[in-house]
């Protein structure tokens, strides 16, 4: 039985993960998933439209689901379906609440009073839940139609805020600029595939195709001052103008290079491809295909829609097969959302691990281990997938560093758990794995997480060595800190920290700090070597370099204090928690300074989170400094021949 239950848990976990990998059956007659798999070049990378849809939704409204608090079912089934509505039926998409606004000043500017945005639930149960925050109490997301009357005001305020340096902008200015940026982003999507304001773009294009040769001749005649068909000239000018709008107001390069053109950067916007018609006399087949899809979608013709996607896919597949394989894989990766499954499993592992300290330590401890292991494998798979798609080492930006810090720390936890079998590894893994993935989720709100590397960072060799090793150092330092927190919380508030566990924790923390010292040191000097190789100087006192140096020094302080007998168990734990502060500052704080060569990720909203984290760690250290007589694990009354408190806790 003791062996069976953990295995059953393992099987259930594997089943849960396997389910996320299964293809999701299409809910409608349209092959929306196939639309999401069509390739597009945005921000320097060829990706599926599905990625565009998801990263746009995250950027606009902080989540991938489109729904209203008053209706329980989501408005659209998938992000791809939302994108379809935006590009092909904007008049409908404009009514979806997809613009998140939280800043009260900005809400006031848009004429939203407290009364306007308070959600009035019909059911009493919902009313009660909303008071406690289980369901939203206020509308936070608005549709384009809500915002349309205020576009001028938003634009004006954005213009005022724009020249101000990013670091000194007020929350209102940041909110205005973000909203303005989001409106622009939405506009770019709307104009990506069909011309604005034309209800039958396909029909217009077909007519255009028939008339273009005569039309161009008429325009030439007009320019030369000869006799010409005035109506034809004006049709040509009109449609030409709408192509220009399409070409200039989008950054989605949906039309792949023409056959025979091997330049991978020759992708163009649909509008640009259509403008070429005036020269070639033939409407680009890709642009025509998208117009056809628009027609089928608007007129509810699923067969035509599906057939057209199939044909278009086959047509571009002839020359883009390797890219399309990657794009398709990325689409499936998006749907599977491995990091969300992993996050859920870490949370479960955390609770199972915590309970194992109270009852059935063997059964629950092993179960927690298996859940952690599966969660870690899922995260590993996700990261491997990202590496393959990007063709890069695992850490390329702040987002992927969060993934990697969690991955590294959990990996170490699995080793610890395999050695000690006391669920401490699983609990630490649960906390760190969950929180790093949560951080990663928040970092993903700024757009696509697979960005192109700026020239200075474009070196796979150094990304694979320096960045990986330094990030592994972060992982280890955090892990030591969290083990320290477990020691203090268990010792202070429970009776479960017996001397065997306490000694085991001490050895774990000590070992992990040795590991952290080695990795952060080697990583830092590899960075120095990179700097010397590229810039002729080993060390430049750049904030990120200093941050890494501080971690190394802090770990050296802990080790020397320990060797010199200046600290014992509790001191070690407290200093290890201090490592959390130092590492979080090095990881995020240095990027908030906005100076130096390394500051590639400016993150202003994260400042509050960082301060909160630092304060919480100081609080833990404060708890750790409380006198031993207050520690429940150590203050056993000297009843029935027990030694007194001081003797029960030697060397702490």
């Amino acid at each position: 039985m003791k062996k069976l239950i953990p295995l059953l848990v393992l099987a259930a976990t594997v089943f849960y993960v396997a389910r996320t990998l299964m293809p999701v059956p299409e809910a409608s007659a349209f092959k929306i998933a196939a639309f999401g798999e069509l390739p597009v070049l945005v921000n320097g990378r060829i990706k599926p439209l599905d990625t565009v849809a998801r990263s746009s939704l995250l950027q606009l409204q902080g989540r991938q689901r489109v729904s209203s608090p008053l209706v329980s079912a989501p408005i659209v089934a998938t992000p791809s379906e939302w994108l379809l509505e935006v590009v092909f039926r904007p008049e409908k998409a404009d009514t979806f609440p997809t613009f998140q606004i939280d800043n009260p000043d900005l809400l006031a500017l848009l004429g939203k009073t407290e009364d306007d945005i308070k959600i009035k639930y019909e059911k009493t149960a919902l009313k009660v839940l909303s008071v406690f925050g289980f369901v939203p109490s206020h509308f936070r997301r608005f549709s384009l139609r809500d915002l349309t009357p205020h576009i001028g005001t938003i634009q004006e305020q954005a213009k005022l805020a724009d020249p101000i340096e990013a670091a000194v902008r007020t929350p209102f200015q940041r909110a205005v600029l973000q909203l303005y940026g989001n409106l622009v982003h939405y506009q770019r999507l709307r104009h990506a595939l069909v011309a604005p304001g034309r209800t039958d773009f396909l029909g217009d294009l077909l007519k255009f195709q028939d008339n273009v040769v005569a039309g161009v001749a008429a325009v030439r005649a007009k320019q030369a001052g000869q006799e010409h068909d005035a109506a034809l000239v004006s049709t040509m000018t009109e449609i030409g103008e709408s192509f220009v709008i399409m070409a200039e107001s989008t950054n989605l390069l949906v039309i792949p290079p023409d056959a025979g053109n091997s330049d991978p950067t020759a992708w163009k916007p649909a509008g640009a491809a259509l403008l070429e018609t005036f020269r070639t006399g033939r409407v680009n087949s890709g642009a025509l295909a998208y117009a056809g899809l628009a027609h089928a979608w608007r007129n509810n013709q699923p067969e035509q829609f599906n057939k057209l996607i199939e044909l278009y896919r086959a047509e571009i597949g002839k020359r883009l097969e390797p890219q399309l394989t990657k794009v398709g894989a990325e689409k499936r990766f998006n749907v599977a959302q491995p990091f969300y499954s992993s996050m859920t499993l870490y949370a479960v592992a955390l609770f199972v691990g915590l309970f194992s300290w109270l009852l059935w330590p063997d059964v629950l401890g092993r179960s927690a281990f298996w859940i952690t292991a599966v969660a870690w494998l899922v995260a590993t798979g996700g990261m491997a997938m990202r590496m393959w798609i990007e063709g890069r080492p695992p850490v390329t930006n702040l987002y992927s560093s969060a993934l990697f810090v969690g991955w590294g720390a959990v990996g170490l936890c699995l080793i610890l758990e395999q050695i000690y079998k006391n669920a401490i590894g699983s609990v630490a893994a649960g906390v760190i794995g969950f929180s790093t993935l949560l951080i990663a989720h928040h970092l993903s709100l700024s757009g696509d997480t697979m960005e192109m590397m700026r020239a200075v960072l474009d070196s796979n060799f150094w990304l694979a060595t320096h960045v990986i090793v330094v990030t592994a150092g972060y992982s280890a330092t955090f892990l030591a800190g969290f083990l320290g927190i477990i020691y203090i919380l268990r010792g202070l508030f429970t009776r479960t920290l017996d001397s065997v566990t306490a000694d085991a924790l001490t050895r774990m923390v000590y070992g992990i700090i040795c590991f952290a010292t080695l990795f952060s040191f080697v990583g830092t000097i590899l960075g120095g070597i990179w700097a010397d190789q590229s810039w002729g100087r080993f060390w430049g006192w750049d904030p990120k370099e200093n941050g890494a140096l501080i971690i190394v020094i802090w770990n050296a302080v802990i080790l020397h204090a320990r060797w010199g007998g200046m600290i014992k168990q509790r001191g070690l734990m407290n200093l290890a928690i201090g490592g959390n502060i130092v590492t979080s500052w090095s990881w995020f704080g240095t990027n908030m300074l906005g100076v130096g060569l390394h500051s590639y990720g400016f993150t202003d909203a994260a400042f509050v989170a960082l301060s909160g984290f630092v304060l919480s760690q100081i609080a833990f250290i404060g708890l750790g400094c409380l006198p031993l007589s207050l520690w429940r694990s150590f203050n056993r009354r000297p009843a029935a021949g027990q030694p007194d408190a001081a003797a029960a806790a030697p060397g702490r």
């Binding site: 992708w267 070196s459 000097i525 120095g528 810039w535 010199g564 300074l593 100076v595």
Partner: protein, 392 residues
């Protein structure tokens, strides 16, 4: 050994001192990093790391508030060296610790030498224009050139500090004294309108372009992407009286101001401090790619011709990101470009004679740590195995 010396020795060899110094060092680095927002990266290095004490100005009096980089680093160096000489008995078990600390001593020394010896310059190259000098990022010079001979210029350079101190300079190569009158550490130049508004003081310059432009003093900037543009009014005084007062400014748009004296032609200017090289570089082509459909730079590269006057070297080199040119003790790397102008490249030039030291130091330390923690790990694994063997 007297008690005093014993106490002294015990202080310097103690592990407690090590820990205190490490903590002080950490606080120093942290404070310096935060202060970069105000002072910029260069001023911070001078204030925090290349100093014995960090000084704060209370009123006008600088007050030492915290030990600086030389103080902490120096004591750490003494602490390390002394405690190793005094306490340390070399054994195989401690070889890791030994190697790590020898490496650290080297690293600290290397950083000291780097601080003393490293020089950075910038080099802005225009396409097809040969250049044989680099320019300082922060320092400037007042120069008087004798350009009478068309073959070469005879340059007399006055360091900026002496201009700032308004020190009169008499140089054997010049038939006049150079008398700096007023100095502005940062400034901008504006055109003076043809008809001066009443109430505006006339220019203090009586010669050259200074009569037509107005000098606007600016506060000193510490921003990393800006530099101070100093300016000064300089009077030249010959044996038979003043030749006039010139306005000079390091603004690169201001050309050298030419004048005649005693049958020779001179030029006067203030400019970024130059260091001449025994070779010249010519930009042949600057390339800059962006990722398709974005403004994100993908790469920059400069195709450059390197030529020495003796003809020993005459070749083309390609400098791009993460691939600098190393030549005659200098490292040239692709630092920047001028947006919208692809006929110009900006290189950074670094001289760092002690560049090899960190490599040696870091290899020693890495090996040391590996050995040390490896010994711990094996001891730990061994201990865990042992109890299981007992019951059998």
């Amino acid at each position: 050994m007297s008690e005093l010396i014993r106490q002294f020795r015990n202080f310097f060899v103690s592990l407690r001192l090590t820990v205190v110094l490490l903590v002080l060092g950490m606080i120093l680095v942290f404070a310096a990093t935060l202060d970069q927002v105000n002072l910029g990266i260069w001023a911070v290095q001078e204030k925090y790391f290349r100093s014995f004490f960090v000084l704060w100005n209370v009123g006008d009096i600088p007050v030492p508030v915290f030990p600086g980089g030389y103080f902490v680093g120096g004591l750490l160096l003494i602490n390390l060296t002394v405690s190793h000489l005094y306490r340390f008995k070399f054994t195989l078990r401690k070889s890791g610790i030994f190697l790590t600390h020898v490496g650290l001593i080297l690293l600290l020394l290397g950083e000291l030498f780097t601080g003393l010896l490293q020089e950075d310059y910038s080099m802005r190259l225009e396409q097809n224009v040969p250049k044989n000098y680099s320019e300082s990022f922060r320092e400037n010079e007042l120069v008087v050139l004798d350009v009478t001979d068309s073959q070469f210029d005879d340059v007399v350079s006055v360091p900026e500090e002496r201009v700032a101190r308004a020190e009169a300079i008499q140089h054997p190569k010049l038939p006049f004294r150079v008398v700096p009158k007023e100095y502005y550490p940062n400034s901008a130049l504006q055109n003076r309108p043809e008809t001066e508004a009443p109430g505006n003081a006339p220019s203090k310059a009586t010669q050259g372009i200074g009569q037509r432009v107005r000098l606007v003093p600016l506060p000193i900037t510490y921003k990393q992407n800006e530099r101070n543009i100093p300016a000064a009014f300089v009077e030249l005084v010959g044996s038979s009286g003043s030749l006039g007062t010139w306005l000079v400014s390091a603004d690169p748009r201001l050309p050298n101001q030419r004048f005649e004296h005693a049958g020779r032609t001179y030029e006067i200017a203030m400019r970024f401090l130059r260091t001449y090289k025994p070779f010249e570089l010519t930009l042949l082509k600057f390339s800059h790619d962006r990722y398709a459909g974005t403004e994100i730079p993908k790469n920059f590269s400069s195709n450059i011709r390197l030529k020495t006057p003796d003809g020993q070297d005459d070749r083309e080199v390609l400098i791009y990101m993460n691939n600098p040119l190393r030549y005659s003790g200098l490292t040239f790397y692709q630092a920047s470009f001028e947006p919208g102008n692809d006929k110009v490249t900006i290189l950074q030039v670094v001289r760092n004679p002690s560049w090899l030291v960190p490599y040696i130091a870091c290899s020693l330390m890495t090996f040391g740590l590996l050995i040390q923690f490896g010994i711990h790990l094996f001891a730990f694994v061994g201990k865990r195995r042992a109890p299981r063997a007992l019951p059998a």
